[in-house]
Symmetry: C2
Subunit: 232 residues, 2 copies
Amino acid sequence: MNFATLPRGFHFDAFRRISPVNEDSLWDIIFARNAHHITVKRRAPALANLQKIFSATFCLANQRGFGAMNLRDLCRESGLSMGGLYGYLQSKDQLSAMIEDVIRYLCEQLPGWFDHVSDTTDQVEAILRAHIYLSEMLHPWFFFVYLEARTVPTAQRKQAIAAELAIESHLARLLGQESRLSNAQDRLLAAHAMALIQDWHLKRWKYRREKISIDAFADSVIALVRARLTGA
Amino acid sequence: MNFATLPRGFHFDAFRRISPVNEDSLWDIIFARNAHHITVKRRAPALANLQKIFSATFCLANQRGFGAMNLRDLCRESGLSMGGLYGYLQSKDQLSAMIEDVIRYLCEQLPGWFDHVSDTTDQVEAILRAHIYLSEMLHPWFFFVYLEARTVPTAQRKQAIAAELAIESHLARLLGQESRLSNAQDRLLAAHAMALIQDWHLKRWKYRREKISIDAFADSVIALVRARLTGA
DNA sequence: GTCTATACAACGATAGAC
DNA sequence: GTCTATCGTTGTATAGAC
């Protein structure tokens, strides 16, 4: 990892250049993490078909919701047949599980990327920026996880909730080192920061429309958190 | 309306006491706004059945998503029969339309409740508080609208988007009168404020778990916005 | 490794009895 | 005003050909 080369207050292009995970490398991660149940073993066709399957899933699920999406339409949209599809998953539920799994895995890794940053407030800023920029690169993935979390089976949902709380606690602990606020206020500030960064993938239609760049958005979130830390 | 009696920085109980719209009065509004297509004309059974139908809808839709919810389960959960249900709606889509309609109607009314507040920043605070407190009283309704907005028919979705942008523009205009920020920064601050208040109904499970009261949450959101307005 | 064909349960919606 | 019974359609999943 070369996150150490990122300057203080890095922007989207700088992060994208050095990030080991992006829109292209993701398919390898998915293939590796689901090797045990994907019956197609040849790498090249598997990666191509995974891409078709997930692109079609995001398109349909974001229109109707995952539960209302049906596998016939998924086949038409992805170009695979019903039989072909079942070489990559054993049930419809497993499709959403694969998506949740890879995003949760990445979110667990993310805070550790910035352990080297010595100034605590800068470390918070780096984690928030990385979150926003990663959810920009993997927008459909984050969007899906966020909006379908409630519809997935209980065990899967509990893991997602635990992951969110872990990041938030991590942020609250870092904020507590620098702020003059109470513990409860630090936790609330961490929760607010999470809500703001999630707003980027939830309302991207709005920010596109108003021509607000991802860098302007990230700067604004950071300014808001810093104002609360240092201000009245 | 007696919103003028609310003190500066009012909390949840004070708002609930004087609000003309709450968990009970809502059924009247629904019945009135949908009188043209509800074939059941007697008031008493209609209000009772509407309550059963919508409670069951929220329960099922929040578990599986509205599109994946089916009308047979809705009948079982609400206690009505298939035929009985169709006395209150002409199609499944109309069920979500009725929910979106009443929440949009209330959100359009809300900013006007505080036209009498002379200090602009106090007016912003009152609007944000009222939004948070209303979404607490009508939690399942707001939760549904927020999470199902993308799955509803296009015309209906466009109305919802327009309503959200209207509130945000209103807030941005008010913020612009008081802040030393640029226009673009005012718009972003308004967007952030909307994201924060929506977080209350989206993540209520989290705030319950951490025993964060609605008043503590609202105070924290207000503190964050005020810090950005007056701070660095 | 991917296809076509098919099993059979469940879907939204309606007609007609009460 | 609400019920039961039923229509035609569409759902997930699999078997067996290529």
